[in-house]
C-alpha cells in the first residue's frame, strides 16, 4: 500500500471505524485513542497490506484493540451474566433509531459489535467472523439473539405496542 492509499484509507474508513468503536464502548476519547492506535499500527506495516484488504484489517485490528481495552477495564459483560433487569429502563425517546442505539448499549459487547458490523457496514457473516474471530454459526447466533433482545426492549418500553 502506498502513502496515498494509506491516506485514502484514513479518509474513507476513519469515520466508519470511529463510529463502530464509539457505539461499541460509548466513550469518545477511548474510541479516538483506539482508532489512532489502529492507524498507527497500519502505518507501521503499510507496505505489507494490500489496499483491497485494508478495511477488514482495520475493523479487525480496531475490534481486537477495543476488546483489550474493555477487558483491561473489566467492563466486559459476558452473555451468561447479562443482567436483564437493566434492559428495560424507562424510555422516553420517540425516534426509533435513537431508541435502538440506547438499547444497543445494553447488549453484551460481542452482540453489539456483530450487529454494528452487520447494520453499519453491511458485512456478511463470514466477514464478521473474520473480523471478530468467531465462527460463522456463532456470528449468526449472536446477531439473531441481539435482534430479539432489541425487539423485546422496544416492546417492553412501550415504543412498540
Amino acid at each position: 500500500m502506498t502513502v496515498k492509499e494509506y491516506n485514502n484509507a484514513v479518509r474513507e474508513f476513519g469515520d466508519h471505524i470511529y463510529r463502530f468503536i464509539l457505539r461499541s464502548i460509548k466513550d469518545s476519547h477511548r474510541a479516538d485513542d483506539i482508532v489512532q492506535d489502529t492507524y498507527e499500527k497500519l502505518w507501521r506495516c503499510v507496505t505489507e497490506i494490500k489496499y483491497g484488504a485494508v478495511k477488514a484489517w482495520l475493523f479487525s485490528t480496531a475490534y481486537n484493540r477495543m476488546i483489550d481495552v474493555i477487558r483491561k477495564d473489566s467492563r466486559l459483560v459476558g452473555i451468561e451474566y447479562y443482567d436483564d433487569s437493566t434492559l428495560y429502563a424507562e424510555e422516553n425517546g420517540s425516534d426509533l433509531n435513537e431508541v435502538l442505539h440506547r438499547a444497543l448499549e445494553r447488549l453484551p459487547a460481542v452482540q453489539r459489535s456483530v450487529i454494528l458490523l452487520r447494520d453499519y457496514e453491511g458485512y456478511n457473516y463470514r466477514e464478521i467472523g473474520e473480523i471478530t474471530g468467531l465462527s460463522e454459526a456463532q456470528v449468526k447466533t449472536y446477531i439473531f439473539r441481539g435482534r430479539v433482545a432489541l425487539r423485546n426492549y422496544l416492546v417492553k418500553t412501550s415504543v412498540w405496542q
Binding site: S28, I143, R151, W160
Partner: protein
C-alpha cells in the same frame, strides 16, 4: 440381542425394538414457542433462512396473523449510523517523504526570507533609507547605501604641518602613534567602514556629496590591519555600524550580543532551549558569561581585551 455366527469376529446387532409412543413426540411448526419463533423470525428477517426452515416459518405465519406481524417487526430493527466523524482524522494523515522534506526545509527558509524583506521594508533601516533617498532621483544601476553616522568608531589622524603655504602629503597612522606625536598639530578624522569608503568608486551616483562628513577617502589610504587583533576590532566595529543601521540606534555591538543573537536564532529555528547570560559586577561591568543547555553548561570569565 443377536450374535453373529462368525465366532472369530463376534458383533452386536441392534434388536428390532420400537418405541410405543413416538407419535406424541412429533411437533408441528405451530407449536414453536415465542422465543423459538423469535429466533427463527430474526433469521428470516436477516434473509438467513432457506429451504425447509423458510417453508415452515411461512406456514406458521400463514396460520397465525399475530405471528406474521411479530416476524414482520424484526425487519424494522436496523441500526442506521449517525453522522459522527472521527475528530482525530487530520492527525492520522501522513505526508510523502518529498513533501515532508519540503515542509521541513523550504517553508522555514521562505518564512525567514519573508521576515527579512518585511524588516528591510518596514523596519527603522528602511525608513532611514527612504529619508535619505527622499526627493532624489536614483538611477537604474544605483545601489542603496545607509547613512553613515557622524561618530564613526575608527579614528585616524591626518598630520598637518604648521607651514601655511605648502601642504604636506597626508599619511594615516593608528591612534597610538598619533598620541606619541602629540607635539605636532593634528586633525582627527573619522574613518568610515570599508564598504562605504568605496563610495567614490561604486556608489557615487547614489549618494553624491550627501553629507559633508562622508568625505571619501582614497582606498590607498586604508592600511591593512597589522595584527589579527586589529582585524577583529575592525570587524566588530563594522558589525556595530550595521546593527545601528538596521535598528536605528547607535548601540555598540559586542561579542556577547552577537553570540546571544546566534543562540536565540538557533533556539527559534530548532526549538532548542539554550541560554547565554552575561554576569556583571557591582559597577555594571561584565565579568563573565554563563552558557547553559540540556547537554552542556559552563561559565567563562570575560577577557577585558576583547572588544
Amino acid at each position: 440381542m443377536a450374535i453373529t455366527e462368525d465366532m472369530d469376529f463376534p458383533r452386536l446387532t441392534p434388536p428390532d425394538d420400537r418405541m410405543p409412543s413416538d407419535r406424541r413426540l412429533y411437533r408441528r411448526p405451530e407449536e414453536l414457542t415465542d422465543d423459538q419463533f423469535d429466533m427463527l423470525a430474526a433469521a428470516w428477517a436477516e434473509g438467513a433462512l432457506t429451504g425447509e426452515a423458510l417453508a415452515e416459518l411461512e406456514s406458521v405465519m400463514t396460520a397465525s396473523p399475530g405471528r406474521r406481524d411479530r416476524a414482520g417487526s424484526f425487519r424494522n430493527i436496523r441500526l442506521v449510523p449517525d453522522n459522527e466523524s472521527w475528530p482525530g482524522m487530520r492527525s492520522a494523515f501522513r505526508l510523502s517523504p518529498a513533501l515532508t522534506a519540503f515542509r521541513r526545509s523550504a517553508i522555514p527558509a521562505l518564512l525567514a526570507v519573508a521576515a527579512m524583506v518585511v524588516i528591510i521594508i518596514y523596519g527603522p533601516a528602511g525608513a532611514k533609507l527612504k529619508t535619505i533617498n527622499a526627493g532624489r532621483t536614483v538611477t537604474g544601476n544605483a545601489m542603496t547605501v545607509a547613512e553613515i553616522p557622524a561618530s564613526a568608531p575608527i579614528i585616524a589622524v591626518k598630520r598637518i604641518t604648521v607651514t601655511p603655504v605648502q601642504p604636506v602629503p597626508v599619511e594615516q597612522t593608528p591612534v597610538a602613534e598619533a598620541r606619541e606625536e602629540a607635539a605636532e598639530a593634528s586633525e582627527v578624522i573619522r574613518v568610515k567602514p570599508l564598504a562605504l569608503t568605496y563610495s567614490h568608486v561604486s556608489a557615487s551616483s547614489v549618494a553624491p556629496a550627501v553629507n559633508p562628513v562622508m568625505t571619501p577617502i582614497s582606498i590607498r589610504d586604508i592600511q591593512p590591519a597589522r595584527t589579527l587583533q586589529e582585524e577583529k576590532n575592525w570587524m566588530f566595529r563594522s558589525m556595530s555600524f550595521l546593527a545601528g543601521a538596521v535598528t536605528g540606534k547607535e548601540k555598540e555591538v559586542n561579542g556577547y550580543m552577537i553570540a546571544n543573537g546566534c543562540i536565540t536564532g538557533i533556539n527559534n529555528i530548532l526549538g532548542w532551549n539554550m541560554e547565554l547570560e552575561q554576569v556583571s559586577n557591582k559597577s555594571g561591568e561584565p565579568v563573565a558569561v554563563t552558557f547553559s543547555s540540556s547537554l552542556l553548561s559552563f561559565t567563562k570569565p570575560l577577557n577585558k581585551n576583547t572588544p
